[in-house]
Symmetry: C3
């Protein structure tokens, strides 16, 4: 592993290295990006050959693209992938032809409502070619003959996903995922993998983990379908919570979580609970409209408890999917803040579990175990100190396998984080075991 540190300069440099790469859902740019990240976390790759059937989909051929530009009648490059790689429609087929401005129009994409922005456009599953430019540039195009050159190939290759696991003491698992397939876009792309890298290092440092933490990077949609084709059954059995991470930069001070479809996962419940105890994140309901890989995890055949977190994605932002989504717009500081906020939530998740009382018939004799006073003599000032004893009594009485610690903390009126001492004391006396 190369040297990692959680500093703005480290993240800024890493961003700068990743930003210019021409990524897509397959191909050399994606693999190059994984390789850069794998210097700092031990990524393993799974490959799905072109043509592989993945549920209702087929893994497409790899797209390789060496150059793409559009020459105006004066020979000026009015669009050029070499300048900014979203200026070519991603997955464009090869072309080398002259054509009039009029004929060219059908191959040009621009946004009249955002005249300075170059849009990001893809056509993965239908053969097309095209160029993206700002509306201003488009309006300035001169009549005459244009030359469109795209030097690209579709090659039988593979689609790659990258992952690593930090093991815990149980079979239960937490998924932390981000996607990596957009070319030079900052907030809606690189912010996710960069925060995921930071979380990996934070969680790796914990002295104990109840849950396995699985970190996955994949191209969007088709990549998460590949993940599910390999791990769907495993997830259905073991996953207690999942989180798709994207758009972790930008202005908003607080994170916003889009909850899972059934809103009944451990993280779903915890997010509401923590809001009662000084956590300020927002919560919005699941919807299959818009969104990202969480739609696949939450499809009706899987219904996994996977949420999606961002700062601004769920409400939309002006720079989205355009050349305006830059490092300056995103910022590096918000990424470090996101790492910090998410770790706090995962630390609370570690205390969130369903336990079973191993001595359910009556109360266990706590006095014998040093967990309860052996003398029935209560002074007023003592009753004020009984907080932890109260946690113990609550946990023992309600841990019948039907209530988790978040629900028990709610019944008592405290945060599940506050119950950590009592949970660990009862676990160490084998009075509670994880269900």
């Amino acid at each position: 592993m190369a040297f990692y540190e959680e500093t703005e300069s480290f993240y800024s440099d890493l961003f700068d290295e990743l930003f210019p790469i021409l990524r897509s859902i397959t191909g050399p740019g994606l693999r190059q990006s994984y390789d850069i990240l794998s210097r700092y976390m031990p990524l393993e790759y799974d490959s799905f050959p072109s043509g592989t059937k993945v549920f209702d989909w087929t893994v497409p051929q790899e797209w390789h693209c060496q150059e793409a530009y559009l020459l105006d009648p004066d020979g000026v490059k009015v669009a050029d992938m070499a300048r900014l790689n979203i200026e070519v429609v991603n997955y464009s087929e090869a072309v080398d032809m002259e054509l009039s401005l009029e004929d060219l129009q059908a191959h040009i994409y621009s946004l009249p409502e955002k005249p300075d922005a170059i849009p990001y456009v893809t056509s993965y599953y239908k053969k097309r070619w095209g160029f993206c430019m700002s509306e201003k540039t488009r309006q300035a195009l001169k009549p005459g003959k244009y030359r469109a050159v795209i030097n690209s190939q579709f090659i039988d290759g593979q689609l790659d996903i990258a992952q690593t696991v930090l093991p815990g003491s149980s079979d239960k698992e937490v998924l932390i995922s981000s996607y990596l397939c957009h070319p030079s876009l900052a907030n809606n792309e690189l912010s996710g993998p960069l925060v995921l890298l930071g979380l990996y290092h934070r969680i790796k440092k914990w002295s104990h983990r109840r849950y396995n933490y699985r970190f996955i990077l994949n191209p969007e949609t088709i990549g998460s379908l590949c993940v599910l084709s390999k791990l769907g059954t495993h997830f259905k059995k073991n996953l207690v919570a999942g989180l798709v991470i994207n758009c972790m930069g930008g202005d908003p001070a607080e994170l916003v979580f889009k909850h899972s479809r059934n809103d009944n996962g451990l993280l779903d419940k915890l997010l509401y609970h923590l809001n009662k105890h000084d956590f300020k994140h927002g919560n919005i309901a699941f919807s299959p409209l818009g969104g990202s890989d969480e739609r696949q995890y939450n499809s009706p055949g899987f219904q996994l408890p996977v949420c999606c977190v961002s700062r601004s994605f769920h409400v939309g932002y002006y720079e989205y999917h355009t050349s305006l989504d830059t490092k300056e717009y995103m910022g590096i500081a918000p990424l470090l803040d996101s790492i910090d906020k998410l770790e706090k939530i995962f630390l609370a998740l570690e205390q969130s579990a369903t336990f079973v009382n191993t001595h359910p018939y009556g109360e266990p004799n706590l006095g014998n175990r040093g967990l309860y006073p052996t003398l029935s003599f209560y002074r007023e000032e003592q009753t004020k100190q009984l907080e932890q004893l109260n946690h113990i009594m609550m946990l023992l009485n309600y841990s019948d396998g039907s209530k988790d610690t978040v629900e028990i903390a709610d019944l008592y009126g405290c945060s599940v984080v506050d119950m950590q001492w009592a949970i660990e004391a009862l676990e160490s006396h084998q009075l509670l075991v994880m269900k």
Copy 2:
């Protein structure tokens, strides 16, 4: 089939033909009424011989009654079935005797609180005889000898029910039922069968039906028990909604639905849903007190999702079960309005179903099927056009067999009627199949 048209004059003439017939829960008047209606819809009869055990009940003998009158001391007919057939207590036994006014009083029924109204009285299961008259007539009766003549017989015969089915593309069934056993009463009798006839013709015209629509006419209570003895098991398996229709005339502008006992049938849910989308009908909770055949369908052994619709029945009306319940009180126009309103609700019911997504693992590739843009390029004005695409995404994600289209429409915030295009598109691509 004879010529049918949905006009006031057609319905007025048909009403006039049916009104004067002496109906009861058995006997020639009931069969004659069925025969008249069967000119306009293909009714099939089921017969239950007198003495047949039907659950806790026994089919009574047929009641035939040729004449019934009461002569006062001057030989004036102060009650006469020939004038108005509710002037004899329905199911009266034969009598031909002279008796004093004093002795006669126990055989006379009148309503002091409605002095001009002749009440409608029956005694199906206990032998009695009697006459009904207005309180005004009763108060004017002179002392002296009266002669009571009822020429009636109880005959081993049968009880008849009449039905027809408009088939649909699934096994699931909708019941539309009304009762036909009261003699000359308008709103609380003939309005129901007449509206049922109109609905039959409306639904028959639909190009496609998901559900079978079963139309049943029967004498009240004992008739619906006979229906259940024959079809109860079938209904428990297939019935998704049922509706007992009566009192479709009178003043109130809007229909009122008494919901089913468990209030969890498809129609129950739809009725609330439609109220959020410009439908103005009222809803009241089920009760086993009062009411009609829905009480039998909703008995604890069946608990069928059968509602009951009327304009005024559920709140009560002054003319109920008296000679004041006339064609003038009822009106013909409200019947045609009822047909129209009920058809709209049944059209919505056709879109209300539980579907299963046949490609539940991840999202199906909609682009391949022409249901989704193959180019990822969204302009603001386009996102406004995505309504149908949104319906598709909602239907696919939530159709896991646990949610019906009404619930999915509620989640999206539209009417289930608005989702018709998307439902049919997904069905035609075999992406959704009815559960």
Copy 3:
């Protein structure tokens, strides 16, 4: 049986006989107290030998204590069990030693915040010795040599519980329990067994009981664990409601019920229901913190529907567990009032049951059974008299085994007590049978 009467003088005399006895969780004082009560109700004893394993606990040796006193340097008895038996720490081991005031302090218990009160202290499961005195007495202790004398023995013997059952017509059972182990304390001890005795006599007089009523007296905590070790399986099968009774005296006018853990027992539901119909008792949620034997009955392995009733216990009172908890503080009149209030609630509980309609397919023919008019002629004044008929229709329709009479009364809007006539009429016609 000796002569019993529900009068203040009878209860006052019985209290006076029981109060001075040195009780503990085992030993001769407990047995003597049972024997006194068994003059007035037929108690049977179950004995658990010292050393018996009871779930996670072990029955302790019997504690016998003949004398216990503390002599000050002048030979004055500053603490003396013979004066008030809470002046010795309950379950103190034997001691006979001289020691300085300084060394003595660790063996003295007093309450600075209640300077006149002698606290009640126990140490059942850890060997200790000590004396209890008021803070005022403690502050006046002179320096010098003290002599501590406790003449006590731990003897292999047994722990005893006492019970009797009033049989009902079904297998279902109601538990009424109180504890008897504190020495001279009034409200938080003797009030419970005395009210239990009164309830026994009230319920014995009923002409009919649907439920078995089991009355149990036991030492607190370890005693209820012994009860559960013997009857836990029986209770899980048959118990529909339970009530731990204590602190039935003191100021508060109304009883307060702490509900069972799952708050879904028959008594839980009834208590809320009765509050809608002129009953004024209070209701508080279950908690495993504080409380008495209901904690054992509501432990996760049993989760029995056992509530706990008191006047003041659940909110706490100044005199609790001190020498201030006297007959004068408690009062005798509140005990008789408690008997009266609790009997009314148990009478309502007798009407609270889940029945099954034996004729669930359609409505049974009530006319044949004299339960419904055979003539369909309703006058306005009659419809006002139909209350009982309405109860009958409600009970028949909703008695499908999933709803009890309390829920059905709620649906109709009356008290379950009001439905007694209809319930008994339908039972006597075998139209309803208890589930």
